[in-house]
Symmetry: C2
Subunit: 288 residues, 2 copies
């Protein structure tokens, strides 16, 4: 089917998901449609990107609703393989000898607390790219580290695919849409928007520094108190902060100075009870 | 060009080489032509598959002659990228963060004495598969460990390519054709056919055991003296043996019993002076 589209010169877009589709996913699908005649949505809760003790088993699975949503969005094909199809079953003789390793880019942010996570992501996305052979693939900004690592893979592995970033969709109070939001208690749900508010505050502060700096001066130091104040606020409100960092791109290493013109990410992850929330904003460093 | 062929539904075969084309390569090209309308030959001396101290610098480079040979074999396209094209230059900002790791399959045979070699091979072949997108690719039997590891990659990475094995081409005295044979002195060249003769002798001995065994009995032990006698012979003739092993497939682990019906490889590598020769035979274990 896909190869038939390719043969007819029709562009194919891929939106890889783990299902439990929400408005965020639907906006990725709509973005994909602007770039290709056919949109393929993959739905696969990939076991190899969950570390032991993470929520693989309880991750929401809603394939029927997902299919309906895809249908009404005009998706051409939903690819929902089972675990055996992707990795072979245990009794079958299909051992794995290869893995994709990442250095540097997974050292900080989510990579630090989720060992093996991004290798699992690359394992499955590499397979998906080779199975579907999309001309373009859309991944959400919310998983920003994933986005940069996948774009790096596409480049180093020479996948002939363009990687697009879908803007983070938010609830009216600013909370980033996520399949994991369903885990939140009403009280946690009330507190959850603090994550974005805090990122926004840091971003706005840095933006001010950039704008008020002389045109000909160079690096802008990140004030040491900027992040520590935010960290304290999280602690006071019952969040267990995993990280709150300003990192450069594409290497995703923490920085303590901002160089105007370069792209930075301000990213945070925090636990509310048993639920881990992540969010990030891109820092506009242009002096205009 | 290649994508145009794909669009027209024409099959494409890839023959990856490091150039210095000899009869062995030409037979791979002929085999490729039987499976596809278009044959692409890549010529690239891949730096990442040479360990420090190996012969990357002195590896023979004969691009013009290679091109001529390809032309007369009816090759549709010769892809001869330079180092920068494949990996980016040092002054360019194109750092590498990813690598393909192999476990198990590279522990023995050439993998044991060439650390990082097969990771380098996979790095470049993975790129080539994604750039050329061949329907079929042909690799020679002589590099047998490479063949099994690449086939494993094609399977695990879901490259939609069929991996074919080209039989080893030999000189009239049995020496496997190799770009590295040009390094041999006349005296070394006279001794070199011992490698194949020895592999053949071991294979014939095991074959006899398999055929004379009762139909209903199981595993055939490999006599301990079988390999030790051969090893001594090499030492007496000035070879520095790297390995001489019987391994199972596809895991490439040494075995001390043969199970009829399974595929085994008898493989050896040895130094004659500064030149490393490798060769192997496949063991026919069918009882007929």
């Amino acid at each position: 089917m896909v190869s038939e589209w390719h043969r007819q010169g029709e562009r194919v877009a891929l939106v890889p998901t783990m299902g439990a589709l929400h408005d965020g996913h639907l906006s990725l699908i709509r973005q994909a449609k602007e770039h290709a005649a056919h949109v393929v949505v993959s739905v696969f809760v990939n076991p190899t990107q969950f570390a032991p003790g993470e929520d693989y088993e309880r991750y929401p699975r809603t394939l029927e609703t997902d299919m309906e949503k895809c249908r009404s969005e005009g998706v051409s094909l939903v690819f929902a393989p089972d675990r055996n199809e992707m990795y072979g079953s245990d009794d079958e003789e299909r051992p794995h000898y290869l893995s994709v390793r990442i250095s540097g880019m997974n050292r900080h942010l989510c990579g630090a607390s989720r060992p093996g996570h991004f290798e699992g992501v690359l394992q499955v996305v590499n397979k998906l790219f080779n199975i579907v052979r999309p001309d373009v693939a859309v991944f959400g900004q919310k998983d920003i580290q994933q986005w940069f690592i996948i774009r790096q893979m596409a480049e180093e592995f020479e996948h002939p695919v363009e990687i697009l970033m879908g803007p983070t969709r938010r609830e009216s109070d600013g909370l980033a849409k996520s399949s994991r939001n369903v885990y939140l208690s009403p009280d946690q749900r009330r507190k959850a928007p603090m994550l974005f508010a805090s990122l926004k505050r840091v971003s706005d502060t840095l933006r001010e520094q950039i704008l008020k700096q002389d045109a000909d001066s160079g690096e802008i130091p990140v004030p040491g108190t900027l992040l520590s104040g935010e960290k304290q606020r999280f602690a006071e409100n019952g969040f267990k902060l995993d990280y709150f960092s300003i990192v450069g791109t594409p290497d995703l290493q923490p920085v303590d100075v901002i160089v105007p013109g370069r792209l930075y990410v301000i990213a945070a992850a925090a636990w509310l009870g048993n639920t881990r929330l992540i969010d990030n904003v891109l820092l506009n460093t242009r002096k205009e």
